[in-house]
Symmetry: C2
Subunit: 217 residues, 2 copies
């Protein structure tokens, strides 16, 4: 409406920038409050915009904003496991876990609310997004371990470990972020090697992997 370029404080955001700004504001609120305790008013206030503007971007209201925020967090989470494929395999897994734990730390309440279930904002769509992240994490882990075509026993072992890591994250948040990050990370990696070693006794593919990990070290 105005031909002059607005000053930086009033710079007009592009549609994508505005959308990201609202999602970021929502994620910062979800980090400390359960999704059901965050209103669109709160998001408008945190983003310093009007409520109608929030509704213009998310006409489906809170549920739509929540799902958009969840998708954005899911993309960020998938990046955590996308480590360059070089260096010792377990070191790469450690780096991925460091980033994962930092993500959990940052999104604390929203992460817990999502994974603990029973939330009013949980739907088959949100469940599908979370399952997508789990699948992506498993794929990244296979890549880091140099596995193509994981068999059923190796797949079950990896999926069980991913679930156990999620459980550990929730307990870690619950217990005031104890043990310290480095200890948690090393402990989780050691548990992974331990359960792989158990599976190796029942599965030649996993046995070959465990032998390769020992050579790395």
């Amino acid at each position: 409406m105005t031909p002059q370029a607005p000053g930086p404080a009033y710079r007009r955001l592009s549609v994508e920038e505005r959308r990201s700004q609202l999602i970021d504001a929502a994620l910062s609120l979800f980090a400390h409050r359960a999704p059901e305790e965050v209103s669109l008013d709160d998001v408008a206030e945190a983003a310093e915009v009007s409520r109608p503007l929030v509704y213009r971007y998310f006409p489906g209201g809170k549920q739509q904003l929540y799902e958009a925020a969840l998708r954005s967090a899911a993309e960020e989470l998938e990046q955590c496991f996308d480590e360059p494929r070089e260096g010792p395999r377990l070191a790469r897994l450690s780096h991925a876990l460091d980033r994962y734990i930092a993500f959990v730390d940052q999104h604390a309440t929203g992460f817990s609310a999502l994974l603990q279930g029973g939330s009013v904002v949980e739907t088959s769509r949100t469940t599908a997004i979370v399952d997508g992240v789990r699948r992506a994490a498993a794929e990244h882990i296979y890549h880091h371990l140099g596995i193509t075509g994981p068999g059923p026993r190796l797949r079950m072992t990896v999926r069980m470990w991913i679930t156990a890591v999620e459980a550990a994250s929730l307990i870690w948040l619950d217990e005031g972020r104890q043990p310290p990050v480095e200890e948690l990370r090393d402990w989780l990696v050691e548990q992974f090697v331990a359960v792989l070693t158990v599976t190796a006794g029942r599965d030649p593919q996993t046995a070959a992997l465990v032998a390769a990990l020992a050579e790395d070290a």
Copy 2:
């Protein structure tokens, strides 16, 4: 209304018996169909009673019946872990797992739907029931292992393993109940010992437990 005792086929059930009959009928349906695909009509038909009778017992409708069925299943599931406290500790854990896997086998679809989340029948109440079962399972495991006052590292290890066992159950159902029950059970017990052994390196209480388990064997 009639002074003669009715024949066995038409025996009038007590309130409690009728309630149990309806819950059993619901559980048998939930074993093969997702909760959202089971109507009160289906339950009435399976129990061979009228729909108004189902509503008389469960005036809150399908959600109330679902929660009652879930509570009944939760009690049964808690029993799985209530093994007599004698004999070698890991043998007791194996027996408990045998019963747990039989439970999963029997309640297949309902078990999956409940744990996979995003179901329309999932509420904070159903989540609380499931969490109650997890807590009870952890308590039974401490008893079997002869642990009083588990510290944070041992607690985290046990809770992670319980979650991993749940994940394994879901995958096992998904993959046509493979591997065979005995192999799955032994594999899960071996994984438990393996992760306890990892934790033993960081926690004296767990180290004492692992030493005691080795003496049992």
